[in-house]
């Protein structure tokens, strides 16, 4: 695959795509009977599925079916919405994270998140990565510099920005900004990456670059990605979860290996959705 990414990382795309699943499935996140409420309005109910370690799991479905709420529950970002209540169970490596005892700052370091709209901080390119590292207690400057360079190389941004690390991050193009945000998440060495439609605000070329990047992140990281682009889900995901709204409540309709869900969906709704978009 011909990408503008540099060759610092050793992951190849073809190896990953040949396999039905990237590894022996092992639940990194085990979600059981999850429901999300905003005030009295339930947006998501009874979701159970396992996010496999090292795999890319795509969440598809129409707008408003609770995909983003599901995603934000996994790193407890929904805590920022005061009226939001999450019930059920989410086990990260067997440990419950939906308890008041969970250290959310540590949790969010282990589970990084990328948003739909690139949100680099209004700092320099370097400070965007340096500040989170400092805040997480990386004291040694040389060590931080090394990690920053590695993260920028991992997202293929190093060659583009290495000569202007102190320039404002907001001066980068949309695609570069999104890759910087991914680098900002990677620099903290998370285990899991949550991505909320990371390509949808980008132009087709930038979107392609970011998609290739996500593909390369699979295997090394566990990736959960929300996408409205079914072709994209098909190209990059190992597993796909299809969400749909029933009685105004978002539900998980079908979950399975990507090929199976797209080629031989079990549920009639899934088939209709996939075909509807196709047609």
């Amino acid at each position: 695959m011909n990408t503008p990414l540099d060759s610092a990382t050793s992951y190849t795309v073809s190896e990953l795509r040949q396999q039905a699943a990237c590894c022996v499935p092992q639940a990194h996140l085990a979600i059981h009977n999850l429901s999300v409420r905003y005030g009295s309005k339930t947006v998501l109910n009874g979701v159970s599925l396992a996010i496999q370690r090292g795999c890319i799991t795509a969440l598809i479905g129409p707008s408003g079916c609770g995909k983003t709420s599901f995603l934000s529950s996994l790193n407890r970002l929904v805590d920022m919405v005061p009226s939001c209540a999450v019930n059920g169970s989410i086990l990260l490596d067997g440990e419950e994270i939906l308890t008041p005892k969970t250290d959310v700052l540590m949790l969010r370091r282990r589970i990084g998140m990328i948003f739909q709209r690139p949100n680099p901080f209004p700092l320099s390119i370097r400070r965007n990565l340096d500040m989170p590292l400092q805040e997480h207690g990386f004291k040694d400057k040389a060590d931080r510099e090394r990690r920053i360079e590695q993260a920028l190389r991992d997202v293929g941004l190093w060659q583009e920005v290495s000569d202007r690390l102190d320039a404002p991050a907001l001066g980068l193009s949309g695609g570069q900004q999104q890759r910087l945000c991914i680098a900002r998440a990677l620099v903290l060495e998370p285990e899991i990456l949550l991505m909320d439609e990371p390509c949808s605000a980008l132009d087709p070329i930038s979107s392609g670059v970011v998609e290739d990047l996500i593909l390369r992140l699979g295997g090394r990281y566990t990736v959960v990605i929300v996408t409205h682009n079914l072709a994209q889900a098909r190209r990059i995901a190992n597993y796909t979860a299809f969400f749909w709204t029933q009685n105004h409540v978002g539900q998980l309709i079908e979950f399975g290996a990507c090929e199976q869900l797209f080629e031989a969906p079990v549920d009639a709704l899934t088939a209709a959705y996939i075909n509807g978009i196709r047609g």
Binding site: N75, L77, M80, P82, S83, V104, L105, M106, L107, R108, R109, G112, M113, F115, R117, N119, P120, F121, P122, L123, S124, M131, P132, E135, H136, A167, P168, A169, L170, G171, C181, R184, A185, L188
Partner: protein, 288 residues
């Protein structure tokens, strides 16, 4: 047969609008220049180094304004040492730590808006009763500074809160998703991004505090000697201008001179506020 307006008539109305806008701006600028020229023509010859550094003689008809300058600076310092931390903390609480429809936050916002409109003479009465009498501070620069702090707090809080609220939520979410503390988000992102609004609030507060006469008549007193300490009473520049122009015959020139000094002080303090916020806050962030 078409209903299109001719290009000429559209151009004409554009010109009229342009002229009106320019005229309005010119009128405003003109008034300011007139004010400045009037003050300068009547008071500039009075302003000198001696004027700034000597005590007044014969009720201010002669001599300088050194005690008033010192009193003003002390009162201003007390006001902002008290009001800025308290105001910023309250603004942060209102914008970052309360729910959007929290009743307690709504109650506090409402009281702040009412307080911002309360006439200063009422603050003067309150300060006199509370700080001077009840807390036993007497007529003192401290009592005046504290009363002024109460008076500028509502403006400071509401402008700072509006500034913080205008910072995009994307950055809050991005910071939270990276496992950053709220304090880190405030320090590195929210406060620097809100710096222009914080400075604007501060400048409004400074302007109000420097111009204040009524409050300080009630709380800091009237005597025109050099204050011995912040617990001593003293006369600020605005009170001095009032006294010279109302009670001292032949004090007009000194009043104009003092007004010029007050205006210069306002410019200097505002410039300082901009420079400090730029140095401590705004420079941290870099917009493209």
């Amino acid at each position: 047969m078409t209903a299109w307006r001719s290009l000429a008539s559209r151009r004409y109305s554009d010109h009229v609008l342009g002229a009106l806008v320019w005229l309005s701006a010119a009128i405003i600028a003109g008034f300011f220049v007139w004010l400045l020229a009037d003050m300068a023509s009547q008071g500039l010859e009075r302003v000198s180094w001696d004027f700034l550094t000597t005590e007044p003689e014969r009720s201010g008809r002669r001599g300088g304004i050194a005690p008033m300058l010192v009193s003003t600076l002390v009162v201003l310092a007390i006001t902002f040492v008290v009001a800025v931390p308290l105001g910023l903390a309250t603004a942060i609480w209102l914008s970052e730590f309360t729910r959007a429809n929290s009743p307690s936050a709504a109650a506090i916002r409402f009281s702040l808006d009412v307080l911002a409109g309360v006439p200063s003479i009422v603050y003067g009465l309150f300060g006199s009763a509370f700080f001077c009498v009840w807390l036993g501070l007497g007529y003192s620069l401290l009592a005046g500074g504290l009363t002024l702090a109460c008076m500028v707090l509502p403006i400071l809080i509401r402008t700072s809160e509006a500034g913080l609220a205008a910072v995009p939520d994307d950055w809050r979410q991005g910071a939270a998703a990276l496992g950053l503390t709220r304090w880190a988000a405030l320090r590195y992102l929210l406060l620097p991004a809100a710096a222009p609004a914080l400075t604007a609030g501060l400048m409004l507060g400074i302007g109000r505090a420097l111009a204040e006469t009524a409050v300080l008549l009630f709380t800091s007193g009237y005597v025109d000697r050099m204050p011995a300490s912040w617990l001593d009473s003293g006369r600020v520049l605005a009170v001095h201008i009032f006294d010279l122009s109302m009670n001292v015959t032949g004090g007009d020139q000194a009043a104009y001179g003092t007004a010029l000094v007050l205006l210069a002080l306002l410019l200097v303090v505002n410039g300082l506020a901009i420079a400090l916020s730029d140095r401590w806050l705004a420079r941290r962030i870099t917009h493209a």
